[in-house]
């Protein structure tokens, strides 16, 4: 069976005001999400995660590339028509900031009912109150809170409303855009628990965007690491987390706080700022300049995603899986404590 979501060479460029130049927010990105699979998307702020998510959920038009969802190329459907496309109900999203993503003038009931009213089946619309109550139960929102406005709900309750709205139409793909980063730590755990439970119960696929690498490792089957609009590494979560091949991923992993201080890895501190995303030179590795391992070849030849020894594990680095990395900067890597594979 084909993948649920098959993204091919997806590209989004934004025009820079008053010039011919373009911001390459998402550049030639390809990945797949299988049915029932959870895929994590990590990367620093400004790397294009949000743009990628908005392309996949069809809130933005791609500049180039294909978004094949359940066998149909949905990337070519204009946004105005996609509103009424059958795929609209199958791709839904939970937003980062629950306060911002709920209409302040809509009660919880109206917010959850909105997708059912607009896109629901006639049966769903006829028994709207029942369906909304059922969804509230499903996400653990007390029914008596349905009449409240967003400002009368706590952050966790707001996010439960957001989740209920997102799953109201029983989507096949649920995009989670840092669903817990705006919540208190104590609430984060219950929301994540809820999300994991809902995935199993409703058989959804997740695209889980997060800054929190521990969460990604815990909740996802596979992970994509993004840097400046490109996917620099992808693979099974445990593989990527245990044996990161790209120097950027290594730096990310080294920044994860470890519960056991003795097992802490040496931090790989990245120096400098990311390169400009405005018309980056196509032959230079995006990570060059901040990379502890960068050599002259990295400025001549853009590394492409290449498979490593483990199945499914890809990294876009000339030296990613190579035995015996270049002399330059390899000290930093070794002090990172990774196996020298």
């Amino acid at each position: 069976m084909s993948a649920l979501l098959d993204v091919r060479a997806l590209t989004k460029r934004f025009p820079v005001r008053g010039s011919e130049r373009r911001v390459h927010a998402v550049d030639d990105v390809s990945f797949t999400i299988e049915r029932g699979e959870s895929v994590g998307l990590v990367g620093e702020s400004g790397c294009g995660k949000s743009t990628l998510v908005r392309l996949v959920t069809r809130l933005l038009d791609p500049s180039d590339g294909r978004i094949v969802f359940a066998g149909r190329d949905v990337g070519v459907i204009p946004p105005a028509q996609f509103t009424h496309a059958p795929e609209r109900r199958l791709i839904q999203m939970v937003f980062q900031d629950p306060a911002d993503s709920l209409n302040p003038r809509f009660t919880a009931f109206d917010t959850i009912a909105e997708p059912l009213r607009r896109l629901g089946t006639p049966a769903q619309r006829a028994a709207l109150a029942d369906h909304v109550a059922e969804l509230a139960d499903l996400v653990g929102l007390p029914r008596e809170l349905l009449g409240r406005f967003p400002h009368q709900l706590s952050g966790g309750q707001q996010q439960r409303v957001g989740i209920a709205r997102a799953i109201a139409l029983r989507p096949r793909l649920l995009v989670l855009d840092e669903p817990t980063s705006a919540l208190d730590v104590s609430v984060q755990a219950t929301i994540l628990h809820l999300l994991a439970e809902l995935r199993d119960r409703l058989g959804m696929s997740y695209l889980f965007v997060s800054h929190d690498l521990n969460l990604v490792r815990l909740l996802t089957d596979r992970v994509l690491v993004m840097y400046l609009g490109k996917i620099v590494e992808s693979g099974r979560s445990e593989e990527v987390f245990d044996r990161p091949a790209h120097p950027y991923t290594r730096a990310l992993m080294s920044a994860v706080p470890a519960p056991d201080p003795a097992a802490r890895r040496a931090r790989i501190a990245l120096v400098g700022e990311p390169r400009s995303p405005i018309d980056p030179p196509p032959t230079v590795c995006r990570f060059h300049g901040r990379c502890p391992d960068g050599v002259e070849r990295c400025t001549r030849e853009m590394p492409v995603l290449r498979p490593g020894p483990a199945a499914d594990h890809l990294a876009a680095c000339h030296f990613g899986f190579a035995v015996g990395a270049p002399a330059q900067g390899s000290g930093a890597r070794r002090s990172g404590g990774e196996p020298a594979a």
């Binding site: 105005a80 999203m93 900031d97 997708p115």
Partner: protein, 281 residues
């Protein structure tokens, strides 16, 4: 509905100034509706034998230079003044916020055209523009309303544009799109209602201004024509007699005008609290 009533009671109870303003507003509306039947005398009947009489038991507000009862004229004028300002404000609110909201939401050419048009209107001294419009189109009630509406249009357009613009990228707008809303519905159902609270404050402040504007047009002879009772004309007519000591001719219509403007200005905050769900507890 009952929740709205409860909320209304809460807002009024919480804020005595708002309660006073609403009370005053109700009085004004009642006067506009039944004013003519309350008037003790015919507002148009002149009696030169009793001209320029100071306030007395018979003529509470005195009489003017042709012996008309000022109290009756002030009462009767309420309807006309409120009608002019309310219809002008409604017109500029609807048209201005419609244009401004589209400009803020769709951007691009819509935005450019709307912004240029409003900037052009703003470039004129507004009262002079209103004078020009009335002078060019003719001295009728409808034209006074149009002139007042046109000079107020830019304020609504600019405000709606700014308010919509900041919400255009909000999470709930994206969420609405995911829920199957098209652009027009997102703007009218999701974005614009959230811009209403500050717009209502603007509208109520503007109401006072519109009354002053209409009265101002009448004052310089471009508005309502005498002998129709209207606060602006009455002040204009009375102005000439203040120096000779007949203060009551200009004072009472002026007081009515002031009271109405005062009421509308106070109304703004209360109106915002009423329609903003975030004020609910």
């Amino acid at each position: 509905m009952s929740a709205l009533l409860r909320h209304g009671r809460y807002v009024l109870g919480e804020n005595p100034v708002t309660a006073v303003a609403f009370g005053l507003f109700v009085v004004l509306i009642l006067l506009a509706l039944v004013g003519p039947s309350l008037a003790p005398h015919d507002p148009l009947a002149s009696d030169t034998a009793r001209k320029l009489e100071p306030p007395s038991a018979r003529y509470w507000f005195g009489t003017d230079q042709v012996g008309r009862d000022i109290l009756s004229r002030v009462l009767v004028a309420t309807r006309l003044d409120l009608a002019i300002s309310l219809s002008a404000v409604t017109l500029s609110f609807v048209v201005g916020s419609g244009l401004g909201a589209s400009a803020g939401f769709f951007g691009g050419w819509t935005d450019r055209i709307v912004t240029r048009v409003t900037d052009t209107i703003m470039a004129f001294p507004l009262f002079v523009l209103a004078m020009a419009i009335v002078a060019a189109l003719g001295n009728t009630l409808a034209n006074i309303v149009y002139a007042t509406a046109i000079i107020n249009l830019p304020f609504y357009a600019r405000m709606a544009r700014a308010e919509v613009n900041v919400r255009r990228e909000a999470g709930f707008v994206e969420a609405a799109r995911l829920s199957g809303n098209g652009s027009a519905r997102i703007l009218t159902v999701h974005v614009f209602p959230n811009c209403l609270p500050p717009m209502m404050v603007q509208a109520s402040l503007n109401l006072g201004w519109a009354i002053l504007n209409a009265a101002g047009l009448s004052f310089i002879g471009l508005g309502v024509r005498p002998p129709t009772p209207e606060w602006g004309i009455m002040v204009a007519e009375g102005a000439a007699f203040i120096v000779s000591g007949e203060w009551w001719i200009a004072l009472f219509p002026g007081l009515a005008l002031m009271l109405a403007v005062f009421c509308f200005n106070l109304l703004g905050d209360g109106l915002r609290d009423l329609i903003d769900p975030r004020r609910r507890t």
